[in-house]
């Protein structure tokens, strides 16, 4: 069976959930071979094997941390040369897309980004995408070279499928040309203890109706009761009420959780573009005419400062 390269997104060996989703999708089109770059492969390998990796190609070099993107492209290309895969899958993060793009140029292949599903087709893998603010669903395939596909988080439920997952060292030579962009310093983002926005199964977002940074704890409390990530509309971010890293929308992050709760968000196209593929959508807004209500599975016309805290209490009491 053909091998499929899966680029592993991890933090020091802690494999992030989108990679497990990639492994699940990869098994539909071949045998997943995971590519783990950087430290922590001993921690990552059993998790990757548990989710179907027949092999884990590992490389660690200081260049991966010292320079932006390009050294990782060198490494992925080395894995590509070693395996001759039927496809290469990467997570649709900013970095995943950039690595995939550069690899595609090098190997003369097409690239599809932001797939929400991948399946086997007669002429190679077929990727489903959701475009134009989710008003269209397209199916595409790559016609030249080895398909390089980046996949959005929450595109598949990770399934266990134990495989050998033996670790093999991958020899990587980082080209001088790949040391062009130096990472001078790195400041880790302070952990909020909440799930990462793009990966979360539930997202609770606040918008203009939250009416001030001092009121965002109302949104955070509901999020915490549900184990959810916190999002914010562009209006709330532009007003300085919440960090840009939490912005959901066309110019922020695109999310596709199982449940999306929008509180005090009117639902401008900018915002809808970033959340419209959410499976279940709930809105709480004072304005019964707000466009967000056109999208919802359940909407409450009411003051978020009444409804959200009361909902938080309900959730807590039901969860006991």
């Amino acid at each position: 069976m053909a091998e499929v390269l899966v680029y592993v997104d991890h933090v020091d060996g802690a494999v992030r959930k989108p990679t497990l989703e990639l492994l699940t999708l990869a098994r539909r089109i071949g045998e997943p071979v995971a590519v783990h770059l950087g430290a922590g492969v001993d921690t990552a390998a059993p998790v990757l094997a548990e989710h179907g990796a027949v092999k884990v190609l590992a490389a660690d070099a200081p260049e991966f941390a010292d320079y932006l993107v390009a050294p990782k492209v060198d490494a992925l290309q080395a894995a590509y040369d070693a395996v001759s895969p039927a496809a290469v899958l990467l997570p649709s993060s900013a970095e995943g897309k950039e690595i995939g793009a550069r690899l595609a140029v090098r190997i003369g292949s097409g690239i599809i980004t932001d797939a929400v599903d991948v399946e086997a087709g007669d002429e190679g893998p077929v990727a489903t995408q959701s475009v134009f603010a989710a008003s269209y669903t397209t199916k595409s395939r790559i016609t030249k070279g080895t398909p390089v596909i980046t996949v959005k988080p929450n595109s598949a439920a990770p399934e266990a499928a134990p495989a050998a997952g033996a670790v093999e060292q991958l020899a990587v030579t980082v080209a001088d040309a790949s040391k062009g962009t130096k990472i001078v310093s790195r400041t880790p983002r302070e952990s909020t203890g909440r799930p990462e926005l793009t990966e979360a199964a539930i997202v609770v977002s606040g918008g203009r109706g939250v009416n001030g940074a001092e009121n965002f704890p109302v949104i955070e409390a509901l999020a915490d009761s549900l184990g959810a990530a916190v999002g914010a509309s562009r209006a709330a971010v532009d007003a300085g009420w919440y960090p840009h890293t939490n912005q959901v929308g066309q110019t922020g992050k695109s999310v596709s959780p199982q449940l999306y709760i929008a509180a005090g968000i009117s639902g401008a196209i900018q915002h809808r573009a970033g959340m419209q593929t959410s499976k279940t959508i709930v809105a709480i807004n004072k304005d019964a005419e707000a466009p967000i209500f056109d999208l919802v599975d359940y909407g409450v016309v009411g003051d978020l400062f009444d409804v959200v805290p009361a909902l938080t209490d309900e959730v807590k009491s039901r969860k006991g």
């Binding site: 130096k182 790195r186 359940y298 409804v307 309900e314």
Partner: protein, 262 residues
């Protein structure tokens, strides 16, 4: 020597319009007005600020690949303050995908000459966000991408890249490809004077011959990807909407419990 800045911009269908696909599954450009991609306005703004920070010792060229109407996007950038424009237009470009576009842009950039290429973080239509990386790879120069803060001085570019898990400070020697986010700084509005001046600024049009690109390397036929189907998403079935009269939270909790979220 004065700094040569090339800003890549895209003419996109207005996202507030009713966007759809044409019969050949390319974007239908006839039914929706086009405009300069909002995220590219940030790139133009940063180019202008780089020029100002270098005491005006820079020349800003805005570059686009697109249909005839795409000159609108170039004019907007010129009216913001860019110095000249290059428009790559050719019938054979219809249906070109990201890889093809990066090939055309790279050739046009090399022809124009550059020290810094500035791009937006993504287009507002395709939203792929891969073009700056594709360009860096094709041009063989460093990429300093997704910057929320950028400066060019002393032959190098420095900037801040805010990622999911960390914020990084980057540094690359010129020439380099830069992309900027919507956090890099609000884009200026063109002044009346700027709009008038833009009409007199040079706008060069190039075709595939000018760039030594064969027709079969680009366009729908030459694309590395193929859209096989595009289906309009069925309208969402009208959800339940209740008005809160004291019971709203309870009703919502019932719904969430019914969906197994609680």
């Amino acid at each position: 020597m004065s700094l040569r800045i090339v800003v890549c911009v895209k003419y996109v269908p207005d996202a507030t319009g009713d966007r759809h696909f044409a019969e050949d599954l390319t974007v239908d450009r006839d039914d929706v007005d086009g405009l300069l991609s909002e995220l590219d306005e940030y790139a133009v703004e940063q180019a202008l600020q780089i020029k100002e920070a270098n005491d005006g010792e820079a020349e800003i060229t805005v570059l686009t690949v697109g249909p005839e109407d795409a000159t609108d996007a170039l004019r907007k950038a010129l009216s913001m303050g860019a110095d000249k424009a290059v428009h790559v237009e050719d019938d054979d470009l219809h249906g070109t995908d990201a890889l093809g576009t990066s090939l055309v842009l790279a050739k046009a950039i090399e022809k124009t000459g550059y020290d810094v290429v500035v791009c937006g973080m993504a287009s507002t239509d395709g939203t792929m966000g891969v073009l700056p990386a594709l360009l860096a790879e094709r041009l063989g120069v460093p990429q300093a991408t997704q910057l929320s803060q950028v400066a060019v001085a002393d032959g190098k570019v420095t900037g801040r890249r805010d990622g999911d898990t960390a914020s990084e400070q980057l540094e690359a020697a010129l020439p380099a490809v830069v992309s900027v986010t919507d956090q890099s700084g609000e884009a200026r509005y063109p002044s009346f004077k700027g709009i008038m001046a833009a009409k007199k600024k040079p706008l060069e049009t190039l075709d595939l011959d000018d760039l030594d690109i064969e027709a079969d390397e680009v366009g729908l036929e030459g694309a590395w990807t193929k859209v096989e189907s595009a289906d309009e998403r069925p309208a969402r079935t009208k959800g339940t909407i209740v008005t809160d009269e004291g019971e709203g939270a309870k009703q919502l909790a019932e719904f969430l419990a019914g969906q197994k979220f609680i």
